[in-house]
């Protein structure tokens, strides 16, 4: 599983120093084949593993979508957010409430969650993207903490500190039965997550994605080229929020429970950790990072009697020292890369 992902990621970035728009077309076909093979392997998973593992993979995929959307902001756009759990949690709550009050149809919940994530990000982003650096960090952190507190206090809507319980199992098509089996849920999560990754990759490779990289590298120069850097950053912030909201709905599909902790600093920090471990700016890397983070926290941590966070910390330190560019940077220092083309 993990080794499959690893291979694809390395091929992905061996072609270019950056997952940039001008990426060479050579070597694209093998990458597509690898991606298809990987997708097939992921589709086959429920046939070969127990439902616990399918649940774990669902969580990993939902969290990976959150991490990749954060990478769009941090790695591609150079906006390090410490509060990306906020649109994620907003999406999770909206999906849960939609499921309880309106419909068990998962696509409706998904769209509602994505829209909620986008609207939330638009409201706060209007101010946040106007500042840079440390101020950006502090504002995103503050907004997320406010959102968590709101979720904690607003009993009638969110269930307060007890969390939102009694979320029904999803239906994928109208009139279809509820998806009670972990394998079916997993397939739905996989399909949505794959679509989300695809869209984020497309955004990153578009002209807009190039503009976003330009702002990461040299915002003042972008302004002097005539760009409204606010517009570019704000759009990226809203898009990242929409995908985080969608990830929140996937999280709810699997857990059928939302608590204020889902908007908390822990989730934001873990998402950022996944991005850094994976290698900033390389969207594939964030998926790997997310897999590692969730695996350590939920599986290894459980066996270590709740010392998951400690192990995460050690992993983080090890990655920073051993792989300063994350998993996706593994091949960057290959001898011969600097030879003239």
């Amino acid at each position: 599983m993990t080794s499959d992902l690893g291979t694809s990621s390395r091929t992905d970035q061996a072609a270019r120093p950056d997952t940039g728009p001008a990426r060479g077309r050579a070597g694209r076909a093998p990458r597509l084949v690898l991606a298809a093979a990987l997708l097939l392997a992921l589709v086959a998973v429920p046939f070969v593993v127990p439902s616990d593992a399918a649940n774990l993979l669902s969580r990993i995929l939902a969290f990976a979508l959150l991490a990749v959307s954060l990478d769009l902001l941090v790695g591609v756009g150079g906006m390090p957010s410490l509060g990306h759990a906020a649109p994620f949690g907003v999406g999770a709550y909206v999906a849960g409430i939609t499921a309880k009050e309106l419909t068990a149809l998962a696509p409706v919940q998904l769209v509602a969650a994505a829209v909620a994530g986008a609207v939330f990000s638009a409201l706060v982003g209007w101010l946040i993207v106007r500042v840079r650096g440390t101020y950006f960090l502090m504002l995103t952190l503050a907004v997320a903490e406010l959102a968590r507190t709101a979720a904690d206090q607003w009993d009638q809507v969110t269930g307060g500190s007890n969390g939102l319980v009694g979320i029904p199992a999803i239906q994928v098509v109208p009139g279809g039965g509820p998806l009670l089996l972990a394998g079916f849920r997993y397939w739905y999560v996989l399909a949505v997550a794959a679509l989300g990754f695809g869209l984020i990759v497309a955004i990153s490779r578009s002209a807009f994605g190039r503009s976003l990289r330009g702002i990461r590298d040299n915002e003042d120069r972008m302004a002097s080229l005539g760009y409204s850097t606010f517009r570019v950053k704000f759009t990226a912030f809203v898009l990242a929020g929409a995908f985080a909201g969608a990830a929140g709905s996937l999280w709810t599909v699997q857990s059928r429970f939302v608590s204020p902790a889902d908007l908390g600093f822990n989730v934001s920090a873990m998402a950022l950790l996944a991005v850094v471990i994976g290698g900033r700016g390389r969207l594939w890397g964030a998926i790997l990072g997310a897999a590692l983070v969730i695996f350590i926290r939920d599986e290894v941590g459980a066996q270590l009697g709740g010392r998951g966070p400690l192990l995460l910390g050690i992993t983080f330190i090890a990655v920073v020292y051993l792989l300063p560019r994350g998993f996706a940077g593994l091949r960057l220092h290959r001898p011969g890369r600097k030879d003239p083309a």
Partner: protein, 259 residues
């Protein structure tokens, strides 16, 4: 004749230092105009005031008859002004071609487009190829900027500026760090620009200045010392004194004023 750029009594003060003082200057459409003066004369400051990265303390700046004194740098760029930077200001992690494409995609109105992969934008790649060829960087298109030499980065600055299809091109010491051959090719490139493009150039290499510019303005200690045609400037004693000798020693120790 219409003035593409006119500065009226422009002053920029940093604390007690008047980097630019009461400069009135008018540049006609299609002109090849040089701005010279010793280090710290305020040339780059004046450029930044014109480009909008600095706001004047007083005075007015007009582009094509429109008062832009309070407009942002981005607004002025969209109005057809392009500026190269004295210290290269590029997108260091991106390939050379992407640096130029950044300008070309904005100019063609596709900077926010999500519709297709960036390497398939209509019209952009042609402009990129053309600007890279004009600056002699075609062979480096896919290299990251961090691989380029200093001289090549200067050329890339020019390529990025050209890709915006400017009406008014401000070049801030474009040949600094270029070899003699590169400077020669650079001068040819500027000479080959369409006649309706106005070029204002800050340059220390007087050979380049006298080759390219029909009119020359001389700044000294923030003030406009002379503004005349090429031959008169060559003969002007005041200019020679400011440029070649008689500069006060303290001028040498305030290089920051020229930034």
């Amino acid at each position: 004749m219409t003035a593409v750029l006119s500065c009226t009594n422009v002053t920029k003060q940093f604390g007690s230092l008047k980097a630019v003082e009461d400069v009135t200057l008018s540049i006609e459409k299609g002109a090849r105009h040089a701005l010279i003066g010793p280090n710290g004369a305020g040339k780059s400051t004046l450029f930044n005031l014109v480009a909008g990265t600095l706001r004047p303390t007083s005075g007015a700046i007009m582009l094509d008859g429109v008062d832009v004194t309070r407009r942002s740098a981005a607004w002025r760029s969209r109005a057809g002004l392009a500026k190269t930077f004295q210290h290269s200001s590029l997108f260091l992690s991106l390939p050379v071609a992407d640096n130029v494409a950044m300008a070309a995609q904005r100019t063609s109105g596709q900077g926010m487009s999500l519709r297709r992969p960036a390497h398939r934008l209509p019209g952009v790649d042609d402009v990129v190829a053309e600007c890279l060829a004009a600056t002699g960087l075609s062979g480096r298109a896919s290299r990251p900027v961090s691989d380029l030499s200093h001289g090549e980065r200067r050329q890339l600055e020019v390529a990025v500026a050209l890709a915006t299809r400017p009406q008014l091109l401000l070049l801030d010491e474009p040949t600094a760090g270029m070899s003699a051959a590169e400077s020669g090719r650079f001068a040819e490139l500027i000479e080959s620009l369409p006649g309706d493009v106005t070029v204002l150039i800050i340059e220390h290499d007087l050979e380049v200045v006298f080759r390219l510019a029909e009119r020359i303005s001389v700044l000294h200690l923030g003030r406009l010392l002379a503004d005349d045609d090429r031959e008169s400037i060559r003969q002007n004693e005041q200019v020679q004194r400011a440029y070649l000798g008689d500069a006060r020693p303290e001028d040498l120790f305030h290089p920051a004023a020229g930034l």
